[in-house]
């Protein structure tokens, strides 16, 4: 059981395979083996939220999931929400409202914000604060991030409604 084992992941819609050690985290595998550098490592123990990804539609800290637990799962990273050529309204709103400074925490914030809007398309400011409370951001003081999420909610809602 200590031998490396091959796992399959569907990452941003693409099937990928990795041979992983039993103690490798999903974060290690996404970054070091599969090159998904859009998943950032800020603490590796679940405090900061920079490595947040969707694991079968649930937002998780990739550092807190063993890679083997994710075998067969569908993973969405921030780059799966939108890329520079095709940004998601949330990502555009982060730009327009000044929700980005250094950008290291941003992909994690995008995941948490997307998870919120998926579940609650009409969040209040308090809903947004609660949804982002697992993501540290040291630059922005959150204010403009929260404004961005609220604006994106309107935009997404307007588009679909």
């Amino acid at each position: 059981m200590y031998d490396p084992q091959t796992i399959r992941l569907k990452i941003n819609g693409v099937e990928e395979e990795a041979t992983v050690k039993p103690y490798a985290t999903l974060l290690d595998v996404l970054r070091d083996q599969l090159g998904h550098i859009e998943v950032k490592e800020g603490c590796a123990v679940g405090d900061c939220g920079a490595c947040a990804v969707f694991l079968d539609s649930t937002p998780v800290c990739a550092c807190l999931v063993l890679a083997r637990q994710a075998d067969g799962a569908e993973i969405i990273t921030a780059a799966g929400i939108g890329t520079p050529e095709n940004l998601h309204p949330l990502q555009e709103a982060f730009m327009d409202y000044g929700g980005i400074q250094c950008g290291f925490c941003t992909p994690g914030l995008i995941i948490s914000a997307k998870a919120l809007l998926d579940e609650n398309p009409h969040p209040t400011q308090q809903d947004v604060k609660v949804a982002l409370s697992g993501n540290y951001c040291r630059c922005t003081g959150y204010e403009q991030v929260i404004e961005a999420v609220l604006a994106a909610a309107e935009k997404v809602d307007g588009r679909h409604g």
Binding site: K40, C48, L90, S133
Partner: protein, 789 residues
């Protein structure tokens, strides 16, 4: 060039590829332009707009690469072996067992270092690796590096490096460290004094003796950990001929280049430092972190190497905010006029001087804040101990200097039954003031009163308690931070260069050695180039932070680059534009005076149908052999530092049963000069304010016997989205700075400077308790309330 702007306006805002610069409903902040008569701010199309970050798309998708995101074929991983002792002699380092493990390529120690093996912002005082025979001076001091094929192998092998230490007596209190017989840390002296400060004006003793009221108080100002989201990380490569390239975030690539040269003895032309986009910094990356170790390991192993600090290493090893004990005697008349201020400061430098001398100077300089004291004496010492290293952190000593002063003023106001605002304005700087702060003179209109007035206006009335059992308080704090304009005596900051190139297709490249630590300076420089050249911002590339190809800009510190690099880029663009006008004139067969520049075009003034696009002119320059690049070296001579005023207001609610403090509102009213990008300015004020809120209410770096007891983010708490104020308001007061680009002043650090005093004074207002130590955790507040009752 008034015509140019008019033409730009006529055509509307230049196309920027996005539907709107500003999201609907952006900004509850106010922007207040003020014409003080010092300069005419031109009408602008791109500068002054809330332009989104040019790197925003890369960052929101996560695809922006930071130091840890680089991988090279054949790359080795490094792990640092660090001292477990606060003070010990290194007797032996034996790497043989580690080296025998599979996959381990090298165990690197000081014996591999051919240069001076010392670095430091204020002189060569920190060894990059501690050699045998020398002493480790703090827990975390590096003694060896292990290079292995994988990180896991490197980490395992690092545990097998045998280091024999002889523990030495340690000292953790700066007062103790100054006493005869204390263990000595400094290299070059026989005591632990790193630096002292003495500034005196008037006769303080006499004035205090004659004062009708004297406030005496002693403040214990805490340290602070940066918690920049990106722990220190990078890679280095080495060419077969020995050329080394280091890729890692820093705040000054040339400084890092010099330190690699100094530590390792490599010639500077054989080193290239690429200062990558930084995942936050707040001053911490102005110090050397991984770069010298990376260059050394590449040199020893002849392979690409990668070094990423864990969060715990980052907290352990990088220099933090200086804690200080500050004693005040503030004398005044019965009607609240300041007579004398006698201040004594002792600060802890930690194990190495790092930048302590300079930070301590700024800390002491900050004490008088924006006020006139006819008699003032500030004296103090910064002292080496075996505590974690202290260094540069947003504000650079200003928050430690300003905050206690603001608190003593509120104590005085309370004693006299005066309004805290009134007492501030009564003693605040006027146009005739001669500030004691080094390098600062009043050379443009004083905006102190305006910042106070605007802060009060936007704050609204003091809130009522939201429920029984809580007390509401309002605090106000005014500060006078400075920003670098000419670098003072410090060589690295003296002079900033930029070069601007127009490409044959009409795009632009700006080369400038600033570092993008998250403040958006690259966006601001692109706005300036776009404005001056009349080309769209998305057609401009910014080459920053590269010691080889971006001209020297000096460190991205001291809230300076919007001013210094902004000027360098603006003047370089103006030189290039003049050349483009000449070529347009040549090609259109008219004298240059008849050419009129509109957005993207050069037009014959008398006959607008005859014109050339920027692209046509650029291509013509290329095909006819005209220099398409312009360079400008900017160095201000009128002053060493610019200064400005910020007033913060905080409204808080204290739960008297639990000691819990809820921050209802924080206002920052900032004398920014022209806001080159108000979205960025607002972000800096709020971000700084949030770090201040953390420092005052939450962040508690506990250190005992040199050991950090809060070693990770699990123990050291910084604000989350649940901890921020219910409302955050910013006022941007645009009183232009005469030599600033378009009238801009610096802005990066100042929310951190203004906000702490406002929160502490709000607690005093709510409870009547002026706590002299922070962070004011619920426990500390609860105890203080119990003691009082």
């Amino acid at each position: 060039m008034a015509d140019r702007t008019a033409a730009k306006k006529e055509g509307g805002r230049p196309p920027d590829g996005r539907p709107a610069y500003v999201g609907e409903g952006w900004s509850p902040s106010r922007i207040i332009p003020i014409d003080t008569g010092v300069m005419e701010v031109p009408e602008l199309a791109v500068v002054g707009q809330p332009v989104p970050r040019i790197d925003g798309a890369m960052k929101t998708s996560g695809l922006q690469r930071f130091g840890a995101d680089y991988y090279m074929p054949g790359m080795l991983y490094l792990k640092t072996v660090r001292s477990p002792h606060p003070h010990a002699r290194v007797l032996k380092i034996d790497g043989s067992e580690a080296l025998n493990r599979p996959g381990v390529v090298a165990v690197i120690t000081a014996t591999d270092i051919k240069g001076m093996n010392r670095h430091g912002l204020a002189g060569p005082n920190r060894p990059s690796l501690i050699p045998v025979g020398d002493n480790v001076r703090y827990i975390g001091d590096p003694v060896a590096l292990v290079a292995a094929e994988t990180l896991e192998l490197a980490e395992e092998a690092a545990l097998r490096v045998e280091v024999v230490y002889q523990p030495l007596p340690s000292v953790f209190d700066p007062v103790e460290a100054l006493k005869p017989g204390a263990p000595i840390l400094n290299y070059d002296r026989d005591n632990n004094l790193v630096s002292d400060y003495h500034m005196e004006r008037g006769d303080v003793e006499k004035a205090l003796a004659g004062a009708e009221v004297v406030i005496e108080n002693t403040y214990s100002v805490p340290t602070q950990e940066h918690v920049q989201l990106e722990p220190e990380a990078g890679i280095a490569t080495i060419d077969p001929d020995g050329y080394i390239t280091v890729y890692a975030a820093s705040q000054d690539p040339i400084y890092i280049l010099r330190m690699i040269n100094q530590c390792l003895g490599l010639p500077q032309n054989k080193i290239r430092v690429k200062s990558l986009a930084s995942g936050g910094s707040f001053g911490v990356k102005s110090h050397v972190n991984v770069q010298v170790h990376l260059a050394l390991a590449a040199l020893v192993t002849k392979r690409p190497v990668k070094l990423v600090w864990t969060r715990e290493e980052s907290i352990l090893a990088h220099p933090k905010r200086h804690p200080a004990v500050i004693r005040h005697k503030l004398g005044a008349t019965r009607d609240g006029k300041f007579l004398a201020f006698d201040v004594d400061i002792i600060a802890d430098s930690g194990a190495y001087p790092a930048s302590s001398k300079w930070v301590f100077n700024v800390l002491c300089n900050a004490v008088p804040g924006p006020y006139d004291f006819p008699n003032i004496r500030v004296q103090g010492k910064v002292v080496a101990t075996n505590n974690p290293i202290k260094g540069t952190f947003r504000g650079y000593g200003d928050p430690q200097g300003f905050t206690p002063t603001e608190m003593s003023i509120d104590l005085l106001a309370a004693r006299l039954g005066m309004d805290p605002t009134e007492i501030r304005l009564k003693n605040g700087h006027t146009q005739d003031s001669r500030p004691t702060q080094h390098g600062v003179h009043i050379d443009h209109p004083v905006m102190l009163e305006e910042t106070v007035r605007q802060a009060l206006a936007i704050a609204g009335p003091k809130p009522k308690p939201s429920r029984p059992g809580v007390k509401v308080g309002r605090g106000l704090s005014s500060v006078m931070p400075s920003f670098d304009v000419a670098g003072g005596k410090w060589g690295a900051m003296a002079g900033t260069a930029a070069s601007v190139e127009i490409l044959p297709d009409g795009g632009g490249v700006v080369r400038c050695g600033v570092s993008e630590i998250g403040v958006g300076i690259t966006t601001v420089l692109a706005q300036i180039a776009s404005e001056e050249l009349g080309i769209d911002i998305q057609n401009i590339e910014i080459v920053f932070g590269d010691s080889l190809i971006s001209p020297k800009a000096g460190p991205s510190v001291a809230s300076r680059q919007a001013y210094t690099a902004g000027n360098a880029v603006r003047y370089a663009c103006q030189k290039l534009r003049a050349r483009m006008i000449e070529i347009a004139a040549r090609d259109l067969g008219v004298p240059p005076e008849e050419i009129w520049q509109t957005w993207g075009k050069f037009v014959v003034e008398t006959d607008p149908s005859r014109n050339l696009t920027v692209q046509e002119v650029a291509l013509s320059m290329y095909t006819t052999g005209v220099d398409r690049e312009a360079y400008h070296w900017f160095r201000a001579t009128h002053a060493e530092y610019g200064h400005l005023y910020v007033t913060a207001i905080a409204d808080i609610e204290v739960d008297v049963e639990t000691g819990q403090i809820e921050v209802l509102q924080v206002v920052n009213s900032h004398d920014t000069g022209k806001a080159l990008n108000p979205l960025n300015v607002r972000g800096q004020l709020i971000g700084g304010g949030s770090q201040a809120l953390g420092w005052v209410l939450m962040e508690d770096l506990r250190v005992k016997d040199g050991r950090i007891l809060t070693p990770s983010l699990t123990e050291y708490l910084t604000p989350t989205s649940m901890d921020i104020p219910h409302a955050y308001k910013t006022v941007i007061i645009e009183a232009p700075y005469p030599t600033g680009p378009y009238g801009a002043k610096g802005v990066g650090e100042h929310g951190m400077d203004s906000t702490p005093g406002a929160i502490m004074n709000a607690i005093f207002d709510a409870t009547g308790i002026m706590l002299t130590e922070w962070p004011v955790t619920p426990e500390k507040m609860w105890r203080a309330l119990r003691e009082r009752d």
